[in-house]
Subunit: 198 residues, 2 copies
Amino acid sequence: MNIHPVDTESLNATDKRDRILDAALSAFAERGFHGTPVPMIAERAKVGAGTIYRYFESKEALVNALYRRSKLALLDKVSLDFPADRPPRQQWGHIFRCTLDFAVNSPEAFDFLEMHHHAAYLDDESRALEARVWVTVQQILATSRLLQLTRNEDSMLLISLVWGGVIRLVRCAREGLVELSPSVVERFENLCWESIRA
Amino acid sequence: MNIHPVDTESLNATDKRDRILDAALSAFAERGFHGTPVPMIAERAKVGAGTIYRYFESKEALVNALYRRSKLALLDKVSLDFPADRPPRQQWGHIFRCTLDFAVNSPEAFDFLEMHHHAAYLDDESRALEARVWVTVQQILATSRLLQLTRNEDSMLLISLVWGGVIRLVRCAREGLVELSPSVVERFENLCWESIRA
DNA sequence: GTTAACAGAATGAATGTTCACTCCGTTTCT
DNA sequence: AGAAACGGAGTGAACATTCATTCTGTTAAC
């Protein structure tokens, strides 16, 4: 018997859907897709196991919804206030800081997005989103290359080096091998830029 | 009683053990640890499911044995003919080429080693091996820094950038976004070196 | 204003499936 | 022949998913 009044706000459907997504994110980021039982997600979300199936058709539909939510969260962060009319150096700085911000403030989402084996269960919509992001980044780099501000090198190689480096930096920070102090962040941003600039 | 050598016997056994490890590697690299049923490994290795338990105590013991075998394969490759008495530039080239060689010739082992979620099931022995490799790399970089041949920067940052970049390059190649031609390999090797040298 | 009836969201025990691992009859060695 | 290795059906546990039921907020009746 619950003698306290029920908070009707918290029973809002959107809110519950988000609770399930949040719970799934923390579980997947920690244990992977196959390593996470649906009932565990239900427990973390504090809902019945059956409730999850009111919001998502299947475990696979859930992980896809989560993937898109996470990817869009990062994409939106970068897109907001993107300095489209400033020099590539500033554009790079913006992307870099947004990404690190995201990694620090939403570590589970960042880890989840960088996990392997997404390919095995991602649906067409998720893959389309992935491709969209990729094309955007390449366009930015192509532009700065035309301006001769970055190296005259295959953009895939430059992106690989810098993006791989950022991901690795975050992982090292996660493992306590590096502290992401403002100084370290700034130095790494410069290090990356030095490695791709003309 | 048995006056015959047991060579044949043990060779067969070793061979079968390797078949199981090979099968596990291809399955784990493709589907992850939790996503791979033991009977699937047995089928790929063309042995009975029970036979696996003659060679490995559990699925977890199997993945640990596999992890160490894969890690040591890369480590041995780098250690063999390591140009310890040549300049850091050549040492880097050696590490880089060995790693790419490994990624190209043993793609499953490379992918498997770079997967997330090893932490969840790796035992002490596996983690000790991991640490050993890490320390070795840091020592090499520390030396070249003393010689003022690489940037006077936190070695963790330099390693993050370069190692992260290599991993990302391999993944891009895997996805068909880059072709690992000799020219690309050489250019990326130089790109990495440029990014860390003094 | 109070109560009864209703709609549909939520639940968690039940279901059928799949898993890691075992056991024992068969095969392969010496 | 005897021993060791093997295979794969068998086993209980854990899984994803379902569904009969409960709960809750809203409305209708008086």
